[in-house]
Every structure is written in structure tokens, then in C-alpha cells.
């Protein structure tokens, strides 16, 4: 029994001691084991360099999937008020408007808080005109901007900071919507609403989770120089990453498949334990005993 175990426990020592191995199975095992060793080496060495990026991928990926994307986009910050248009407020006719602003494009009759207004563009500029009186309302004043922000904001509405941004917008605001009021709320996640000073519309909403998301995404796609998803760094990391992952799967395959083989072929753990005192350790004595 032990004899056969030992025989199977592989086997060939040195050139002087070459034993014939009649079983072709052994060759299979050999090529298997060299695949295994190659996989072990590949996985071990590649992960030395890629491992940290794998951690970054999984942490950033987890962040992105754990938080609902609509929440990230700040949808829950905004009430999206549906203010009905009322006939009685619409006194200033569209014909009069077109007479006054012949170049007006994209004319819309909407509301600013509870007041009916015309919004339109002349060239690149936004205009806000009262539909009640025809009076030009843009650029809107600070109190108006605050009133709109509070009208739409879902939270408690304690404001921590107000500022008019006319140039050099922060990363999170498109330059095309300037000038805009930045209104920070003193709430969980430091939410900010941006109100266009010219159109009197909410043009941006942000909170810390979104700001973080932007960074998280850049780390996820390894965009360290504003080059987006198709950057060379990501190319090499994901390409090598595939090999690293593949070698890991090979290791797993052997671990699952061969741990069974191992247990049945060589020794089960219990067996090894039992044999401790004699056979598996004192091979010599044991062997003679068997004889």
C-alpha cells in the first residue's frame, strides 16, 4: 500500500537513477504540471505589477455599482416642479416679443418659479423675459437665483455659500452655461445647485458623491491625463490583466480538480495525520515493516 503510494508520488531522480516510467499517464501529469507551474509564475509575477490596479478596479467598480446612478447624478436633489401655465399670466404676446427681439430662436413659454416667462436665445445668449409684462428679467438677481434654487431643492435648504461664476468654471460646470449662480447647501454630501443667470434655469446639480464618482471613473479607466478610455496605459494593463486573470483561472482549475486527485492519490489529510509517527515520516522503518 505504502509502496504503491510512494511509487506514485513521482519519482525520477537524477540521470544515474532513471527509472522507467511505464505509465503514459505520467507524461500527461508532467505537461499538466508544467502548465501549472507556468500559470503559477505568470499569476505571481504579473500580479506583482498589476495587483494594485486590480484593487483599484474593484474598489472603483464597486463604488460605481453600489451607488444608484440616478442618485449619483443628483436626481434626488431636484423636485422637478411642474408649474402649470395660466392664461391670466400670459399678457405679453409672442408677436410683440418677436418684434422686440427679431433674432430670437428657441422661444419657449415656461415658468420661472411661479411666474410665466419667455426663454429664448439670441445668438449664443440666453434671455429671460416676463410673459406678464414683457420686462427683461435676465440676468437674474441673487435673491431670484436663491429663490429658484430653494424652490427646486429637495433638502432642508440652509444655504452655506452663494457666488456668481462668470469665468473659469469649476470642473463640474460646463463653460457654455456661464454666467451662473453657484448655490451651496449645508446638507449631507455638500450639494450644489447651479442656476443660469441668463436663462433662470437649473443648469447643474452636484454633490460630493458625484464629484467623487468623476474621479473614481477616471481611476477605473486609468485616465490620468485626460485621454479618456482609449489610453495606452489602460491598453497594457488590461491586456496583461487578461493573462493574469487567465493564469489565475488555470490555477483555480488545478486547485479544484487536482485537490481531489491529491486526496485520493497521495494521501488524505487524515491519513497523513495518522501516519505521522511512523509511515509518512519514518519512511525507512515503515518500508521495512511493510516488507
Amino acid at each position: 500500500m505504502v509502496e504503491s503510494l510512494i511509487q506514485r508520488m513521482e519519482v525520477r531522480v537524477n540521470k544515474d537513477q532513471i527509472q522507467e516510467s511505464p505509465m503514459s499517464e505520467r507524461h500527461v501529469e508532467k505537461s499538466n504540471s508544467s502548465l501549472l507551474k507556468a500559470a503559477r509564475k505568470t499569476h505571481k509575477w504579473l500580479m506583482l505589477f498589476l495587483g494594485i490596479q486590480f484593487v483599484i478596479w474593484s474598489v472603483t467598480g464597486a463604488y460605481m455599482v453600489f451607488f444608484n446612478i440616478d442618485y449619483i447624478h443628483g436626481d434626488s436633489l431636484i423636485k422637478n416642479q411642474q408649474v402649470k401655465l395660466v392664461d391670466s399670466q400670459i399678457n405679453f404676446s409672442i408677436k410683440a416679443l418677436l418684434k422686440q427681439y427679431p433674432q430670437a430662436k428657441n422661444i419657449q413659454l415656461e415658468s420661472f418659479i411661479h411666474q410665466a416667462v419667455y426663454r429664448f436665445k439670441v445668438g449664443k445668449d440666453n434671455y429671460l423675459v416676463s410673459a406678464i409684462s414683457g420686462e427683461l428679467l435676465s440676468p437674474i438677481s441673487k435673491p431670484d437665483a436663491v429663490a429658484l434654487a430653494q424652490f427646486e431643492y429637495t433638502g432642508s435648504g440652509v444655504i452655506s455659500h452663494i457666488e456668481l461664476i462668470t469665468e473659469n468654471p469649476p470642473f463640474e460646470l460646463r463653460a457654455s452655461v456661464l454666467p451662473a449662480w453657484r448655490i451651496n447647501f449645508d446638507d449631507f454630501g455638500a450639494p450644489t445647485l447651479y442656476v443660469s443667470a441668463t436663462s433662470g434655469k437649473i443648469v447643474g446639480k452636484r454633490h460630493e458623491f458625484w464629484r467623487l464618482f468623476d474621479w473614481i471613473f477616471r481611476f477605473h479607466v486609468m485616465d490620468y491625463q485626460d485621454s479618456e478610455v482609449d489610453n495606452t496605459l489602460l491598453f497594457w494593463f488590461s491586456l496583461l490583466g487578461i493573462f493574469a486573470g487567465l493564469s489565475g483561472l488555470i490555477l483555480l482549475y488545478f486547485r479544484l480538480l487536482h485537490s481531489r486527485l491529491l486526496n485520493s492519490r497521495f494521501f488524505s489529510k487524515d491519513e497523513a495525520e495518522i501516519n505521522n509517527d511512523d509511515s509518512s515520516l519514518g519512511l525507512k522503518q515503515n518500508k521495512s515493516a511493510q516488507k
Partner: protein, 347 residues
């Protein structure tokens, strides 16, 4: 450390294949033709400009009134409230677009109606109009194959929540153009290139229900398990570093070591270098020690006999009994040359 390895194994059993899918699809996103993947091969801007004779315009107020009358006379589906009236156009002809319910985004649920801005007559985007609108943005060689109203969902644009006309063109890319049924807005173009990329996005986001987001329960679960996989792997790697498994053979020293057989009889000597583990070193000398895990310290089959003083690694504590350790048994994949004089091969 045993626990770390166990977690690593179990996590990889569960998410291993998906990790490979993530890597491959991620790689594809890196190398794909981003222009093609947008599906806009044959997309052009609608060049119609509004021709406005302001004297003929009816007032938005009138549009509002006729809308109210209309809603009253008909079997009213939505409320007759209007939140916005915009002066727009269809092929240059001015129209009023009335918004009854305004979604936070255009692809969210919106509800519209449309009226001729000169006559106030109701306009609905029917198949014919939708096809005309679509073709105004299409520059490809294909003829219109079919026009269908999709009321529930648009497979090519899973985020779109409004009903849409699908206009299919007979071109080599199977282009489809989508027009929102309520407003006549162009939702977008799609074609086989985009559809292929979308499949990979679907796999990457595990968005099998095509909900157009990456917050499904399955991906949350997998992401969570993947965290365990990478963190345990990270710890394992650091541990390997401390155990000296990351050494460059470039700067190695070689030394001759005696080999003994299981009866402690010398059977020769080999020259080993001090930067590779004994398992690999011996293999290089055509001495094959059994190994099932390939040197991972997890199978315990690569036992050799050194001396009781040889340092003991975690893997050995786990795979060898106390008695064996005291006797000097070790795992060859965990051991380095250090000050070893002789190695006893156990078979």
C-alpha cells in the same frame, strides 16, 4: 493566511469568469473604434430651418386654450395642464410643442402634444411623419425597410422611457433611426457596430435585463465578492514578497548542495541558486518533486526533509503537522537555499 487563501479561492470560483469578461470587454472598450461604436455612421443633422411669418402666428395663449378644449372634448388621457410651450418646427413649418409633463431629462417620461403654429390644428407624429423626420437625418444608401411604433421599450436605447418610432433602413449596417413619438425628437441612430459594442457593455455591466444602468443586484453582488478577491490577492502578494518569493535570479549566487535519498544515502549533488525556491531549483536540475499546486504552498505534496532548524512559513504550519515540522520536514516550494547543506528527497 489560510483564511486569506480560502477566501481568494472561493471568491475566484464565484467571480473568476466574470473577472475575465470584465477584463476582456474592458480591453475591447480601450481598442474599439469609438466613432463606429456610436452607431452614427449615417447620421447627419436635419438641415431644415424654421421659416417664420410672425404675422400668421397664433398666440401660445390660444394654443393653451384649444388644448384645454381638446382635452375636454376627447376622452382625456393626461391632465390638461401645460408646463411649457415651445415654438418649434417640422420641416420648416412652425409648430407649438406643448409639454404636459416634463421629465427631468428628455429620455425620462415626458408627455407632449403638438399643434400647427399658424392654424392651431393638432399634429400627431404618425408613421409617415416619423419616417420623414428619420430620413432627414439619414445619409446612408439604404431604403426604408419598416416603420414600427415601440410603445414599451427601445432595445437599442435602453434608457429611453418614451414611446418611439423605429425606422429601419436596408443598408449593410442595418441602421435603425428612432424618433420620439410625442415630440418628433431624434432619439438617435443605431446600427450593427453599436449593437456589438452594446453587447459588450451589457456583459461588462452585467445588465442582462437591458435596463441601461449598472446597478443591478447581480453586479452589486459580484462587485462585492470581487473586492474580497482582489484584497486577499493583494495581501497574498505582499506576503509572498516578505517570504522572498519575488527575487530576481539575475543577481543570484549558486551553491552546491548534497542530495540524500529517503534512506539518507547520498545520491549526488546539485548546484542551486539562492533566489529561486527549492522546488523550482530542483526541477531545473531534472529532479522532479511532486507538486499539485505548482508551488503555491497549498497542496503540501512537495515535501522534502531539511533540518529541524530551517525556518517555517505559514504554508508549512498549515500543511505539515507539528511532528513533521520538528523532524525537519518542509515544503520545497516555500524554501530557499539559505544555509541548507543537504536535502533529503522523499521518494
Amino acid at each position: 493566511m489560510t483564511l486569506i487563501k480560502k477566501i481568494h479561492k472561493w471568491a475566484s470560483i464565484i467571480v473568476g469568469l466574470q473577472v475575465l469578461i470584465w477584463l476582456s470587454s474592458g480591453f475591447y472598450f480601450n481598442v474599439m473604434d469609438h466613432k463606429k461604436a456610436k452607431g452614427t455612421q449615417y447620421r447627419v443633422t436635419n438641415t431644415y430651418k424654421m421659416i417664420l411669418e410672425s404675422s400668421k402666428l397664433i398666440e401660445p395663449k390660444q394654443a393653451l386654450e384649444s388644448n384645454r378644449l381638446l382635452e375636454k372634448s376627447e376622452f382625456s388621457k393626461s391632465s390638461n395642464s401645460v408646463v411649457s410651450i415651445s415654438l418649434s418646427h417640422l420641416f420648416g413649418q412652425p409648430v407649438y410643442l406643448l409639454t404636459h409633463e416634463k421629465g427631468l431629462y428628455r429620455h425620462f417620461k415626458n408627455s407632449y402634444s403638438m399643434a400647427d403654429a399658424y392654424t392651431g390644428k393638432q399634429i400627431t407624429i404618425d408613421a409617415e411623419l416619423a419616417e420623414k423626420l428619420a430620413s432627414a437625418t439619414y445619409s446612408g444608401p439604404g431604403k426604408v425597410k419598416s416603420v414600427t411604433l415601440l410603445e414599451k421599450s427601445v432595445d437599442d436605447f435602453p434608457k429611453e422611457k418614451n414611446s418611439a418610432w423605429q425606422i429601419n433602413y436596408a443598408d449593410e449596417l442595418n441602421t435603425s433611426v428612432y424618433i420620439e413619438a410625442g415630440s418628433g425628437r431624434l432619439i438617435g441612430h443605431s446600427n450593427d457596430d453599436k449593437r456589438f459594442a452594446d453587447i459588450l457593455f451589457m456583459l461588462h455591466f452585467m445588465d442582462y435585463a437591458s435596463e441601461g444602468n449598472f446597478n443591478s443586484i447581480q453586479i452589486i453582488l459580484f462587485a462585492f465578492i470581487t473586492l474580497w478577491l482582489t484584497l486577499t490577492g493583494f495581501i497574498w502578494t505582499i506576503k509572498l514578497g516578505f517570504e522572498g518569493q519575488y527575487q530576481l535570479t539575475l543577481f543570484s549566487n549558486k551553491r552546491i548542495v548534497q542530495l540524500l535519498d529517503k534512506d539518507h544515502q547520498p545520491i549526488g549533488s546539485v548546484s542551486l541558486n539562492d533566489k529561486t525556491n527549492l522546488l523550482d531549483g530542483l526541477t531545473k536540475n531534472q529532479i522532479y518533486i511532486p507538486s499539485v499546486c505548482g508551488g503555491g504552498g497549498t497542496c503540501g505534496s512537495c515535501r522534502i526533509l531539511l533540518s529541524p532548524q530551517a525556518k517555517i512559513t505559514d504554508a508549512e504550519y498549515e500543511k505539515l503537522s507539528k511532528f513533521q515540522l520538528e523532524k525537519g520536514y518542509r515544503l520545497s516550494c516555500q524554501q530557499f537555499l539559505a544555509d541548507i547543506e543537504s536535502i533529503t528527497i522523499l521518494n
